[in-house]
Symmetry: C2
Subunit: 454 residues, 2 copies
C-alpha cells in the first residue's frame, strides 16, 4: 500500500518556534512612531501587548521554547497530517509530486489557533482580563475565541460589518466559545464613531476594525490587543507548521523544490515556508518559496516597499512593508483573510531581498482550482487556501510541459465548510473577475505621506 498520509506522534510536536530574523542577511528596519516618525522600542508596544510577546516580537534568538502548557493544547489537533496528493497528480497528469500540509483539522478549521493559543497563554500569564481583536472572514476571530475560552479570558471581536451579516455561522461559532462579537464600525469607539459619522452605512473593513480593537485595548490596562498575522511573533508561532512539514517530508524521502502558501498578512506563508527557507539560508538548499495572493489585493506583486500604517485610521506604528496604501479598499472577494493592504515586515524584507517569490491569482482561477482539488482529494479548501492550489496547478502544468518531476509542497491552511456561500456563488456564476487598475493603485499610494525606507 502506497503511503498517502505522513503523520507524526504527539512527542514529535516541535519544542521551539523558529525565528527567521536570526538568519536573515538584512534585518528588518525598525518600526516608527505614528506621530514623531522616530524609531520606537519595545516599550511603545506595552499598552497593546503583554511583555512576553513584545520580547518575542523584537527577539533575535533563533529558537524560542514553546511552553509545555501550549504544547499540551497543541495536541488537540497537532501534529497535523501531511498528504501526498496522488489523485490531484493524476487529474493534472503531471510528473510533479504534490504534497500538502493540512491545517483544517484544528478546532476552528484553519492554521490560526497555532498563534491564538500562545497569545492567549502569555496574556493570561500577565494577568490580562480581556483581549480585543478584529476579524474579516472570521477565521482569526474564531481561533482567538477558542483560545481565550481555554484560558478563561474575555474576548471582544470587532468583525467587519459586511462579514458579520454575510457569515452568521462564523459569528455563532465565536459566540459558542464565549466571545462578544461586534459589527464594525461600531459606536463603541472614537474610530468607529468617526467612520459612522462620515458614512452611517459603512460596510467596514479590516483596517477600520483594527483601529477599533486597538483603541479599545489602549484605553484600559486590563485589556490587551491581539493580531492574527503581520507581526513577527505571530509569524514565528506559525513556524510549527513548517517544522513539522520538514520532518514529514524527510519521512516521505523528499525535499521540496517548491513550497507554496496563501498570502494575507504573511503568517500562513511564513508558517510553512520559513523552516524551509532556513534550509536555504543555513544549508545552501535552493527551495523556491512562492506566496499566493489575490490579484484584487496585490501588495506583493504590484505594491511598493514603504513605511505604512497597519490600520486605516493611522493609530498603529509605521511598519516597513510592501503595501497598497492603508486606504486601499480591495474588492469584496470571498477570500476575506487575504483582503489586507499590507504585508508583514519580515516577509516584506525577504521579498525585497529576492529570497522569496510572489504570485497573484484571480478569484475565478482560484475557485476553479479549489473545486478541482475537492473532487480529487476530497477536502473542500477554504477560499484563502485555493490561492495556493492555483499556484500549484500552474507549477504542476509547467513541470508537465518541461517534463520535470519536481516536488511541490503547499499549505492547505483550512477547510471551506464555513464558506459554502462562496462556492454557491462560484457555481451559479455570480463571481466576477476583479482587475485592479494601475491608476487605482497609484491613487491609493499617492495619499501616503509616510517615510520612504532607505
Amino acid at each position: 500500500m502506497r503511503q498517502r498520509k505522513i503523520t507524526l506522534t504527539e512527542r514529535e510536536i516541535p519544542e521551539h518556534w523558529y525565528n527567521i530574523v536570526a538568519d536573515m542577511p538584512n534585518k528588518p528596519l525598525p518600526p516608527l512612531h505614528p506621530g514623531t516618525k522616530e524609531p520606537i522600542g519595545p516599550d511603545a508596544l506595552a499598552p497593546l501587548f503583554p511583555m512576553a510577546l513584545i520580547m518575542q516580537e523584537v527577539s533575535a534568538e533563533k529558537y524560542i521554547a514553546i511552553p509545555d502548557e501550549v504544547r499540551d493544547i497543541y495536541t488537540q489537533w497537532r501534529p497535523t497530517p501531511l498528504y501526498r496528493a496522488y489523485n490531484l497528480e493524476k487529474v493534472l497528469d503531471t510528473p510533479a509530486k504534490i504534497f500538502y500540509k493540512y491545517e483544517g483539522v484544528s478546532p476552528s478549521g484553519s492554521h490560526k489557533p497555532n498563534t491564538a493559543v500562545p497569545q492567549a497563554y502569555y496574556n493570561k500569564q500577565e494577568g490580562v482580563k480581556k483581549i480585543t481583536t478584529e476579524t474579516g472572514a472570521g477565521q482569526w476571530g474564531s481561533a482567538l475565541a477558542y483560545a481565550c475560552n481555554l484560558f478563561d479570558i474575555d474576548c471582544d471581536v470587532y468583525m467587519v460589518k459586511i462579514s458579520y451579516h454575510q457569515k452568521p455561522y462564523r459569528k455563532l461559532l465565536m459566540q459558542t466559545w464565549g466571545a462578544n462579537v461586534y459589527a464594525s464600525p461600531t459606536p463603541r469607539t472614537e474610530a468607529g464613531k468617526k467612520i459612522l459619522g462620515e458614512d452611517p452605512q459603512s460596510p467596514g473593513s479590516l483596517g477600520i476594525a483594527i483601529s477599533e480593537a486597538v483603541e479599545a485595548a489602549a484605553a484600559d490596562p486590563d485589556i490587551k490587543y491581539s493580531l492574527g498575522s503581520v507581526l513577527n511573533h505571530v509569524l514565528m508561532h506559525q513556524t510549527i507548521v513548517g517544522q513539522e512539514a520538514v520532518v514529514q517530508m524527510e519521512k516521505a524521502g523528499e525535499l521540496p523544490d517548491i513550497v507554496v502558501a496563501p498570502f494575507g498578512g504573511g503568517s500562513n506563508f511564513a508558517g510553512l515556508s520559513f523552516p524551509f527557507l532556513r534550509l536555504n539560508l543555513e544549508e545552501g538548499q535552493n527551495i523556491r518559496c512562492i506566496s499566493s495572493e489575490p490579484s484584487s489585493c496585490p501588495k506583493l506583486t504590484r505594491g511598493v516597499f514603504r513605511y505604512d500604517f497597519g490600520d486605516t485610521v493611522g493609530m498603529t506604528p509605521l511598519l516597513p512593508m510592501y503595501t497598497l496604501g492603508h486606504n486601499f479598499v480591495p474588492a469584496p472577494i470571498h477570500a476575506g483573510g487575504l483582503r489586507y493592504h499590507g504585508a508583514g515586515v519580515v516577509v516584506s524584507q525577504l521579498l525585497r531581498d529576492k529570497l522569496i517569490e510572489a504570485r497573484a491569482h484571480d478569484q475565478l482561477e482560484c475557485f476553479e482550482a479549489g473545486v478541482q482539488f475537492a473532487k480529487a482529494e476530497g477536502i473542500l479548501p477554504a477560499p484563502e487556501a485555493t490561492h495556493a492550489v492555483a499556484t500549484v496547478v500552474q507549477e504542476a502544468e509547467r513541470c508537465k510541459k518541461e517534463g520535470k518531476s519536481e516536488t511541490i509542497l503547499f499549505n492547505l491552511c483550512g477547510h471551506g465548510y464555513f464558506d459554502m456561500k462562496a462556492y454557491e456563488d462560484y457555481f451559479s456564476n455570480k463571481l466576477e473577475r476583479h482587475e485592479v487598475t494601475t491608476e487605482q493603485i497609484e491613487a491609493s499610494l499617492a495619499q501616503l505621506d509616510t517615510p520612504v525606507p532607505a
Copy 2:
C-alpha cells in the same frame, strides 16, 4: 506532558471488518418477502445490491478482508484520532475518565465514508454505472457522493425535501463531488408521484426517499441502490472505528467500562461498540454498550420488536427489528440522521438479548451537552453526536455521585459545521421539547399488519 491524543499509523488500519453475527448467541431472524411474507435468500436482493455486498450481508464469517484499494482510500482520513477529554472531565468535576473517538476528520465530516467507500468499490467491481440513495440531513448523501466520485460512478441522491431547502450547503457539497440531488418526493418515481398526489406540499421523509431510491434502482440493471445504515454489511464496514479504538484504548492503558454511541439505524453505534462487544462475548469482559437515541424517535426504548418495512411505501423486505411502525413520523428535530422509525436487525437482536442498552434524550438536553463539549474540548459536535455526549454527561455525573472512576468511551461521529442553523436555533431558544405520547406510538404500531416474530 500528559497524552491527550492517541494516534495510529496508516499501517495500523485494520485489515478486516468484524462480523458480530459469528459471535451472537442468537442469530438474527431471516428477512421476509414483502408480498409473500416468506423468508427470502440472497438472490432476492440482487436487483438492488452487487453480489459481493449481498454475500457480506448474509455472511457468518467472523472477519471479512478489506480490499487494498479500500484501505488505500481509508488512509485519506484513517486511522482517526482517539482523545482523552481532560477538559470535559474537569468541567464535569467527575472522577470518570472520558475518551472519544473522532470521526469528523473524514472528507464529508462524519463516519459515513467508512461504508460509502467500500460500497462504491464493490459496485464498481461489478460494473454498476449509477448508484441511488436517500439522505435526510445530508451526511450519508455527501459521503456516498464523495465515494462515487472517486470511482467515477454516477450518484443520484433523493434528499428529504425539507432538508433540501433547509440545508443548501450539504446539497452543494454533494454537487461539488458530482452527485445529482433531487428534492424528495419527486415526480421521477411512482412512489414519489403517489405521495405528491396525496399531498403536493409533502415535506418528505426518510422512508419516502428510500422508496424512491429503491424504485429507481430496481427498474434498471445498470443501477444499484445503497443504504447508509441498518443493514449488516453497513454495520460491519463501520467496525473499523471500534477496532481502531480497541487498539488505541490499549495504548492508553485503559479498558472502557462503558461504550456510548448515537443511534439512528445502528451503524454509528455498531461501528464503535461491536469490537468491544466482541471482548464481552469472546473474553468474558463486562463492557456496558449504550446506544443514545432521540426521545422524539424512541424505537429502542419505546418501540416493539416486530417485522416491519424499511421504507414508507412498503417496497423493502420485512426485517425483524425494533420499530415504531413504518408510518411513524418523528418530529422535525435537527438530528436528521436519527429520525428513522426502525433499527438494524443485528442491533435489534442484541438488544432483545439484553447484550446492549438503550437510552433516549430530548434535543434540548443534547444541545446543552453539545455546547458544554464544544466549550471544553473545542470541537463542535454534529447534532447526532450530541446524543452520545448527553449519555456521557449522565454517566459521568453518576460516577461522581457514586465516587467511581469508571472509563467511558464515546463516538464523536461528526462535526457540526454544516449544522450551525441548529445551534443558532438552540441559542435563540427556538428549539422545543418533543414528547412522544404513548397514544402516538400505539396508533402508529396499530397500523402494522406484519408478522410478529416468535
